[in-house]
Symmetry: C2
Amino acid sequence: MVRQEAQREQSASMEDYLEAIAMLGEGKKVVKVKQISEMLRVKMPSVTSALKKLSEQELVEHERYGHIKLTPQGDRVARDVICRHEALTRFFAQALGIDRETAEEDACKIEHVISPPSMERLVKFVEFLEACPLGGANFPSRYEYYLEHGELPQRCSKRGVGKGK
Amino acid sequence: MVRQEAQREQSASMEDYLEAIAMLGEGKKVVKVKQISEMLRVKMPSVTSALKKLSEQELVEHERYGHIKLTPQGDRVARDVICRHEALTRFFAQALGIDRETAEEDACKIEHVISPPSMERLVKFVEFLEACPLGGANFPSRYEYYLEHGELPQRCSKRGVGKGK
DNA sequence: CAAAATTGTTAGACACGTCTAACAATTATA
DNA sequence: TATAATTGTTAGACGTGTCTAACAATTTTG
């Protein structure tokens, strides 16, 4: 019995389709080609052709004029992308203070290219900022001060902590 | 006098070519097709065709079998990409603690897709971490602790700062 | 300096993902 | 329910960027 070779990675486009289908299908809602096309801002024929491709890879179930549904495999991939998307959005919006819309846009692009180790660290980093009192509470405020004035709140240092550069 | 319409953005590929040419040309060294092809891991004909395209846009000077050089415009674009690249590398390597190689790889991808506002904030963020005693010195160590134990150094609050594993 | 090795170019195929135009199925509605 | 409106599909063009194969120029070296 020959084990199936590991799925080759999906392209950014295909990941977008999977992601869109997963989001539109939340709560087992019926997913339509039109919706996908609007969400991804592509024309319907592009969706049809993507669905064909994804069906061949068994990531999506789709029959002519019929239902659209992720297979368990497809769902796994989609969840993964969504997870990266959310973590990145949190990073840009919460940690960096970027406006939500831009944060989402950047997340949409970066989610397709970031490496697993960086993604993992980024997630931990966001968790850290959220969990750490100095990180979560003081950190952002000092950061904001820095953003505004280009320097730290004076006497921020209690003595050149660590080694000066 | 009609102002030239803003240059449409370059594709990730074209940005890579400009970046490679700039790096290989540092210190006015002569740039060769072969080098570019090796640096970007593409075959030489791909380079030739990219050079043709970039020449038409006046971002590169190139004559058949001859010299390869960025125009001032091309240099501007290249510097820009390199700047993003470096900031991203610093972020991943120094702030997140990712190994240099992975950090570079991620920077290479992300530099082409990140938005200007996010880029700007990210740069400031890295500067902040480097400048702020609590950020630069203690922050990383507490972060490391968190990475290892999944929770903050107990009583991280105000006295617990500065310790470390 | 002439042959050999290397580097660079041209031509053309191909994969990918998009689009428009034309047509088909489905759904809404008068 | 017949017709109109909407949604979905097919066919095929196109742009981008890659590649291989064949050939041309340049450079090295015996």
